[in-house]
Symmetry: D2
Subunit: 296 residues, 4 copies
């Protein structure tokens, strides 16, 4: 009956939180194996963030876990904590969205199959068919998003609406926990994002906030920067503006034209996205306004 | 009569340039010890850039050098080259501008005194007196820029004008080759930049084009980036917009508030500025529109 | 008749080499598009290394190329140069050796199929069958190296000898230019290396010369290093001792046990190997004793 | 009566440690502001390491602190913990040892004076006089270690012995907490290390365990590595073999000869040493056999 849980929570900072949570875990025979905390002590209304991994290894593990949940719920009233408590041994289910480029998809498929990312890739959506063979090779469902809807005229907004309805319908067949945009290259409507009501992780091929929007490598080339970057972030309703999860950079030089930047950039795009996904599935990310706390 | 020269030049790209220059050097007994070239081959009007270091070690070194200059001037007509030919063993003279922060100034003084940067720091200008003792320790003239001019009212624009006139007057006493803004924290007027007519290297404490202008570390903190940077660039008339020479970054995390970013950032600010100055004094930088070619 | 060639050569350093080579290229209507040189000026018998990429775009390209070769051969007598002259548009053929681990193989297959590495993977040898499906997916011949030879007893040395004979026979069916050991995990005999007489690139999972031989991640963990690395090198007869081509590192911490190091290390292993292979197929590497000059 | 304390401790891993310590702190009105823990869970006899920063801000702070100490001492019997409890606002006193090279000394003096490292540099020992003016500029006592002892013959062992006795005598005048070898370039005797009985932090100019001992940059150049490093470690009786605290690396290329490596390496030497010292004065390092746990 060996169990391993990860608890992440945040609340207004107040004395005694750590002691209160530790006490609950101790009294229910939990063994804390990892622990990280952060307090935004420098601001007006300091907020507290914590991640704890603990084991329950007695024959009373199930009962202890139930008790822990009851006690944590009680803390909601005392400390106004918001928490998530997840089983470390249960994989999260992701739907991956791609377009034509394969490098980010490959990286996620490979790191998942090798066990480096503890994830279940439930399905792959794409507005192009070119990556279906990759999906097949890894035995993942591939869902083509049609752009031709019978009886409908060619109005772009209507087609996008139909596509998003199609996606929501298809996705309902899977028990999706979160979405990964692995170079999907299309903007999601605010309506779709709200209907979905799940975390969406996107990879943008620049070091945000530099070069948001289209063709960031061309922007970077024109500006003459000496280093380029990639940014994984949660999607919100504003383009390339959601909370940043992870970033990385690579040194370039004058030999690299925009196409050269694109080639070099692909390597950090896939690494940054893979790291962000790994942080997410291991419950290492806590939202803090439009920023993230990442217990890496 | 051993001489060592560095030649940097650029011109519209055309077949035969390398051969023509190599021939001149060979016929005048020069031995090429370093050579780098770049062509912007992908654009409409490709441009060519080259840096060559060569030695003249015969007893005819002076005569050969004179010949080389004559021949290079002839190439101006054939290939429309613009060139600079500098003696590797002659130090460039810099005037450094500082305000209150010492880290960039220290780094330049150390690396110059240790021989890592082959430079002569002719004088230090500052609108504060706090760093005069550092200048004294290194035996460099320290010139305080007054802000109080007798008989003048307190008009900010007039005072700045008077200060810039003061600086130009003082600087004329030294044989200055270029200016380094080592955290000067003040914007130079377009008029001053034009009167000066020398290269000005500035260090900006962000990864440009992200976070130009005031308080970049606060901007970075608010945005929640996971990596911060510093940028050394030539100054033009637009704020924080001139050709980028060098950049570097450092990983941060949620523990770092704006003050923490400032502390961590200081290390890359001084490293980036020192590298840019080193590139400049070793004639490794060629301008290319609003960008730089750096043969690092 | 547009041609693009890459010339790499080395010779004892002597005045006039660059001019002589440039003259040959110029007189045969070649346009130099990339050029790098290096001289080991600080040592007793200085040696010179150069890489030039040039285009021949006239209708006389073939004739010019033939002339260039004649002239370069003449330089052999004057400057004792050793050179290679390769067509930039012709892919080199590689045989990849693997064992059970897939990450380095995948990286090479991806980067080759995406065009980032300009290579032809002719065949994959392995002493295990597990990676045959990957080879199939990418339409590359997969050759299983048997370990059971009828009528032979179990003597290890005889079996290895039989295996190497088998490999040499099979490889003869392909026009192999060089070998990549992508985590082959077995030591090749000196006899085999000599019979093969081709460059062999190996990836070792440590920052050599630290931790050669078996289980480098365990060695690194026991030592308590704060950074681990990977090294791509040419294979010679001594274990993990050949000329280093490329290295990279990744920061670790106390949370990483030996298994954790292995996981983190895989990412740099595949990146370092891919970069080394890219350098090789683009003729950017020149041997210099037991070291390499890499014009990256 | 506002106090801020840092507690670091280690003990055999056992359920309830975190809860027990948290309980002590909570019951004495402490507010935990930072917390990190680590367990070597994968090994036979798992060990537990923890660092907690807490504030005592009531008018009973002194009394609470006394209680906390009593309770922590009781935990010694229960959990066999070894702990250190230090006042965050009290600077540690260091004696720095240098020889002729100034870069590491400068970095420590500057980062200390700028407040980036919270340290008191009590005195500087050197076997050369060249850096005394730097010490003077920063108002730090400079103690020259003589090598000429009247009436003694020239026996090297005797002289070293006399020097170490001299150092111990002089150092006794200061309340030294730890020693920093900032490029001291001499081996300390086992006898001296034992008599001193304080932590000694050394900077070695290689990426250990590669290139221990003399002239590591020459060793690196001969080997042809593509990256060089620096290592800060605690000194034990074996040369360049003590627990590693911090390392960093810098990319080099074939243009760098041994002298070039030395120049490039100086930058990482001083950065790595400064980071190690910062970790130490902030009580972020816990020894774990011949390794370190660093809660960076």
């Amino acid at each position: 009956m060996n169990k391993k849980l990860v608890l992440i929570f945040s609340c207004p900072d107040k004395k005694g939180i750590v002691a209160a949570v530790s006490k609950i875990l101790f009294e229910n025979d939990a063994n804390i194996v990892e622990s990280n905390q952060h307090s935004t002590k420098s601001v007006k209304n300091p907020h507290f963030y914590m991640r704890i991994v603990f084991e329950l290894d007695s024959i009373f593990a199930e009962k202890n876990l139930a008790n822990i949940k009851i006690k944590l719920n009680e803390l909601r009233n005392i400390f106004a904590i918001e928490y998530e408590l997840n089983d470390v041994f249960v994989r999260k289910n992701a739907a991956i969205f791609v377009s034509k480029e394969d490098h980010c998809l490959y990286e996620l498929l490979w790191q998942t199959s090798s066990g480096d990312i503890f994830l279940n890739i439930a399905c792959i959506f794409s507005n192009h068919k070119v990556l279906s063979s990759v999906a097949n090779f890894y035995n993942v469902s591939f869902i083509y998003i049609p752009s031709d809807f019978n009886g409908l005229n060619n109005d772009e907004i209507i087609i996008r609406h139909m596509q998003e309805r199609f996606i929501l319908n298809e996705m309902a067949k899977y028990d999706i926990d979160f979405i990964i945009l692995a170079k999907y290259m299309r903007v999601l409507s605010a309506n779709f994002i709200n209907s979905l009501n799940k975390k969406i992780i996107n990879i943008h091929h620049s070091f945000l906030p530099s070069f948001p929007g289209a063709k960031p490598y061309h922007q970077a080339y024109e500006k003459g920067v000496k280093i380029i970057g990639a940014t994984a972030h949660f999607v919100n309703e504003k383009l390339d503006d959601g909370p940043i999860i992870e970033q990385d950079v690579i040194r370039i030089n004058h030999e690299d034209d925009a196409e050269g930047l694109k080639k070099k950039g692909k390597i950090i795009e896939r690494m940054v996205l893979a790291r962000a996904v790994k942080f997410f599935v291991e419950d290492r990310i806590i939202l803090s306004g439009n920023k993230t706390i990442v217990f890496a």
